[in-house]
């Protein structure tokens, strides 16, 4: 459990980082928090020839509200979200979700953008980005582009990011005061990867659901947006039985993955429970 040999660079500006990525292509790997990458390297499951450490690039270290978005710079650590980073439902929801991102020490180091680039199927932030329609800004020497979350995640540890591209920012649309978020996750131990999780954002007026966004994670090769369940919720009363029905529908909407911690059948049960609970929390 010692990593294979690698070269190490620590650029201090984005352009220098992009030049290194351009020079090394698929052999180069961006090191941000390193909380997944370094463990994978120690197991020799990842063996990049070149590590490009972006931790000294000050221009990527920011978190601000601008133009109706929360703009999350690529060096923003998970721990930044412990307290609401923005007034209103978005900040509250993010602080609720971050409690489930691994453990406290990991949250001090790991980054929001790193989670998205890593694209673990059980990543809370990947689910959050998917449900909240995040936009992911990436740059390379070839230029800059913005990728919607719906097009970003391609599968387990696989994204639309090209080998020479660096995530520079994630933009999350703000939620106005009419929205409420709910999140529910089940894992074997506190801080473990989710066996299933659900994130819901609802607009409820006079007890009736006017708008809904809903997604699940940890159950397939990427977070899944449940558009059909969302549509079915709109116009319905925000009641426990409606939420349970939505959970049941969600559990039928996917073919859940199976591993040693949870069979596909068991994950269906968990999806039903997590969706119902996330919706109930959002409506509370």
């Amino acid at each position: 459990m010692k990593p294979a040999a690698f070269d190490y660079h620590r650029p201090t500006d984005v352009v220098a980082a992009l030049a290194l990525l351009d020079a090394h292509g698929a052999d180069g790997k961006v090191l941000a928090g390193g909380q997944s990458l370094v463990a994978a390297m120690n197991f020799r499951l990842a063996r990049p020839g070149v590590l490009i450490d972006v931790n000294r690039i000050a221009e990527l270290d920011y978190l601000r509200v601008e133009g109706g978005h929360l703009r999350v710079g690529a060096l923003t650590r998970h721990a930044a979200f412990h307290r609401p980073v923005v007034d209103g439902p978005l900040g509250t929801l993010l602080s609720r979700v971050v409690e489930h991102v691994a453990h406290y020490p990991i949250r001090q180091r790991g980054t929001f953008a790193g989670s998205l680039a890593h694209a673990d199927p059980a990543s809370e932030w990947c689910l959050t980005a998917t449900v909240l329609d995040a936009e992911i800004s990436v740059r390379s020497l070839r230029g800059a582009r913005s990728i919607p979350a719906s097009a970003f995640f391609k599968g387990t540890f696989t994204t639309a990011l090209e080998p020479d591209e660096l995530i520079t920012e994630i933009r999350l649309p703000l939620l106005d005061a009419g929205w409420r978020g709910g999140f529910s996750e089940f894992s074997r131990r506190a801080g473990d990867f989710a066996l299933a999780m659900a994130l819901a954002v609802l607009r409820v007026e006079s007890g009736v659901i006017r708008a809904a966004r809903l997604g699940i994670g940890g159950v397939a090769d990427r977070a899944i947006r449940l558009h059909a369940v969302e549509a079915a919720l709109v116009g319905r009363e925000a009641t426990e039985s409606i939420f349970r029905a939505a959970g049941a529908e969600a559990s039928r909407a996917v073919e859940p993955s199976a591993d040693i911690h949870a069979s596909s059948e068991y994950r269906r049960d968990l999806i039903a429970a997590m969706v119902a609970r996330a919706l109930a929390e959002a409506a509370a």
């Binding site: 010692k2 074997r188 131990r189």
Partner: protein
């Protein structure tokens, strides 16, 4: 001053907590590093081992003069299998070391190991316990065609009559899934060759340094004096570090071969793959009860998956034979029949793990009592009351003699402390809100501090059990206690210092305990099996009493009194009834430097004592309160109470620490940890991402109530307490889950009771109800 019974802060802790401890990896700085090349398959024939040009790989051919690890039980039902340090022709489990390379740095050694190609022709392995017992199963070893390496059998004459006359017969199938002891520090060693005296010193993270030296000398064919084994600070063992492993033999061989320092620091993946596993057991039991709930007879078929080889020195008999001998536990079992088999498979070798077979046999008896109570309409506390042993000494059907304990009293104290009626009200109230609370109890005995008779009874060719202690008072009035036991985190140095301080009238900080070094301590068996306080403690008491006697004799001479008039206390020798006293350090000085004055006195200030007791039984009752989330199968432990009777408490805080740690590992067993192999014998849980020890988030506050039954079975009045937490917790938690799920009529008889298993049980109960 009485030091026994005080919660003295551990003398070991300032060093450990400040980071001044020395673990094996701290000693590896300048050594070359070994990397083992391990079998990627569970079973296969070795066709060749290929290394690129310029890379030296060591294989079985290099170690042709080295013997095999081949522990023996002298019993007709035992099949001895030899484990080569490196195999020459076949591999028996995935992860078995097949070859090794050496480099200046650990990472470079790992790079080299990747370049070694093991040409192994895979064969169909046998992995699962019950599959290995099928008549058509492939033998893991040709010596054992039916895959049974050891088999205990007995049947009392009245067993059939007991079942014929029973009001209720309760049958259970129980399964305990495989676990790793998972010490925080993995295995590791640094072997240093000394050109000057041609000796090799192995610093290793082990529990039995003397036994390791014997094993190494036997296998390497050298005098023991050519070797020295030192266990430095050891970061947990829990039984996993008792055995002689091939890696240590290879390491010492290489140091002698290269005449240089070499190190092997195991990584976590290796530890999971190839150190030792345990608890892979399946029990099928039947209990015959009369209408009053008395257990008339117990019949059991006990199977233990012992893995690929037999661990040295305790052998693969450790789990099956303990299960066989101790299944009745704290209950009066009038008639008993059992068959207990140790079954070999192409999996990592089983070795002792804290509790050994007892977590499973306690789960078995406690599930049996619960089921019988339900069947007979009895209160589960009452049925235990009717069956728990209550007169002492008690002789079990397997011939074990239980010294005085507090089996019923401990249970009553536990039930009173949790206020059972109040819990039942809370439980009923919660149920109306769709919440499922449960309470479970577990009553058990813990056989501890046993000497050679217990091991001889198993037929062990190497019979552990006694301890020797060498106690010396130096001219400055300080004591050195050299012990054969080898504590590794238990706080034994503190507890022994308290014990000895009381014998000699000094303070514990004047007592230096020396352990874990074959050059500096008398031959002994190390620390395992909840034995050290009882046995090393007893020997320490005897040795220090001899020194105290000499001190009194010298003091009597110096102060012109009789020995019987001398009291040793507060650092002074006092003549009782007078104001005359002399500091002990002056007496020590005089005894060393003016010995001509005392030439007619027998003995010296350096004394050795030997202690080899039959053993003693601690007892306890655990109570768990849980809430089960029926939608997910998740379990939260709301409360955990232990009523423990470990006899006299030398240091109550240390005892509490043993209980806390034990219960945490019991919770791991009950709910979380499971080593999983796929059908091809590949380990699927070879990292901490997949093998799930509980963290502080999963461990509740553990409440402890002590009882102190002083029996005559030990010299100090102390009983062992190292394993009880681990033994009792799984049964209490599983019973609590079953209690919580009583509305569904769900039975859980498998550990760990994972959320998926609980959820599956609920689902199938609901489906059955719908039918």
């Amino acid at each position: 001053m009485n030091w026994i019974g005080r919660s003295l802060p551990r003398l070991e802790d300032p060093t450990l907590l400040r980071g001044h401890g020395h673990y094996v990896a701290d000693l590896a700085q300048d050594a070359a590093h070994i990397r083992f090349v391990r079998s990627p398959v569970a079973r296969g024939r070795i066709l060749g081992i290929e290394a690129p040009e310029g890379v030296t790989v060591y294989t079985a051919a290099d170690l042709s003069d080295v013997g095999q690890i081949r522990p023996v039980l002298e019993r007709p039902d035992y099949v001895a299998v030899g484990q080569p340090v490196l195999p020459s022709d076949r591999v028996c489990f995935a992860g078995q070391a097949v070859a090794f390379v050496v480099a200046d740095e650990a990472a470079a050694a790992e790079d080299l190991a990747e370049q070694i190609f093991l040409d192994i022709e895979p064969e169909e392995p046998v992995v699962d316990l019950d599959a290995a017992l099928r008549p058509d199963a492939v033998p893991t070893h040709p010596e054992a065609p039916g895959n049974v390496l050891v088999e205990g059998r007995m049947r009392t004459s009245g067993l059939d009559a007991a079942f014929a006359g029973a009001a209720a017969v309760v049958e259970l199938d129980l399964r305990s899934r495989r676990q790793s002891a998972m010490p925080m520090e993995t295995r590791g060693g640094v072997a240093r060759y000394d050109q000057r005296d041609r000796r090799t010193t192995l610093h290793a993270s082990v529990q039995m340094p003397h036994m390791l030296r014997t094993g190494l000398a036997d296998l390497l064919g050298c005098p023991e004096a050519d070797l020295r084994v030192i266990a430095p600070d050891v970061g947990g063992g829990f039984g996993q570090k008792m055995s002689l492993f091939p890696e240590y033999v290879a390491l010492v061989w290489l140091a002698r071969h290269l005449k240089r320092d070499v190190a092997w620091i195991e990584d976590r993946r290796e530890n999971f793959l190839a150190s030792a596993h345990s608890r892979d057991q399946a029990f099928t039991v039947r209990g015959a009860f009369d209408a009053q709930g008395r257990l008339l007879g117990l019949e059991a078929d006990l199977r233990s998956n012992v893995g690929a080889f037999s661990c040295y020195p305790v052998t693969c008999g450790v789990e099956p034979l303990m299960a066989f001998a101790e299944l009745p536990g704290p209950y009066k079992v009038l008639e008993y029949g059992a068959r207990s088999r140790g079954v070999t498979t192409n999996t990592c070798t089983m070795a002792p793990y804290r509790g050994v077979a007892r977590p499973m046999l306690t789960l078995t008896m406690e599930r049996l009592m619960e089921d019988a109570a339900r069947r007979l309409g009895l209160d589960p506390i009452e049925i235990r009351r009717r069956n728990l042993i209550d007169s002492f000494p008690h002789r079990s059907p397997t011939g074990l003699v239980y010294d005085a304990g507090s089996y019923i009293a401990a249970m009553e104290a536990a039930v009173a402390a949790v206020d059972l009626p109040a819990f039942r009200r809370r439980q009923a109230e919660a149920l109306t809100q769709g919440r499922y609370l449960g309470l479970g109890i577990s009553v058990f005995s813990e056989r501890t501090g046993y000497g050679t008779p217990a091991y001889a009874a198993r037929g062990m060719a190497i019979v552990p059990g006694y301890e020797q202690v060498d106690c010396a008072l130096d001219p400055s009035g300080h004591l050195e206690l050299r012990i054969g036991a080898s504590p590794h985190g238990q706080g034994l140095a503190t507890a022994l210092a308290q014990l000895v301080a009381d014998e000699l009238g000094v303070v514990p900080s004047q007592v230096r305990v020396i352990s874990g070094d074959t050059d500096r301590t008398p031959y002994g068996w190390g620390t395992f099996a909840s034995r050290s306080m009882v046995i090393a403690g007893g020997a320490s008491k005897l040795a220090s009493a001899k020194v105290a006697a000499k001190l009194r004799a010298v003091a009597a001479c110096l102060m012109e009194a009789t020995e019987a008039e001398i009291d040793l206390e507060g650092g002074l020798a006092r003549v009782r009834g007078t104001n005359r006293s002399t500091p002990i350090r002056e007496i020590a000085r005089a005894a060393h430097h003016r010995s001509h004055l005392f030439s007619d006195l027998e003995g010296g200030l350096r004394q050795t004592a030997f202690y080899d007791p039959f053993g003693t039984f601690s007892n306890a009752c655990h109570v768990a309160e849980v809430e089960v989330d029926v939608d997910t199968g998740g379990v939260r432990i709301e409360r955990f109470l232990v009523v423990e009777d470990a006899g006299r408490l030398i240091n109550p805080m240390i005892v509490d620490g043993q209980i806390h740690g034990g219960v945490a590992q019991g919770i791991a067993n009950a709910l979380y940890e499971e080593m999983i192999y796929d059908p091809d014998g590949n380990l699927l849980t070879a990292s901490l991402a997949d093998y799930l020890p509980p963290t502080i988030n999963e461990i509740p506050k553990i409440e402890i109530i002590h009882m102190e039954t002083i029996s005559d079975a030990t010299l100090t009045g102390a009983k062992g307490v190292g394993e009880g937490g681990t033994i009792g917790a799984p049964a209490a938690i599983v019973n609590a889950i079953v209690d919580a799920l009583a509305p569904f009529g769900v039975a859980i008889n498998e550990t760990p009771a994972t959320p998926e298993r609980i959820r599956a049980a609920i689902r199938s109960a609901r489906e059955n109800r719908h039918e």
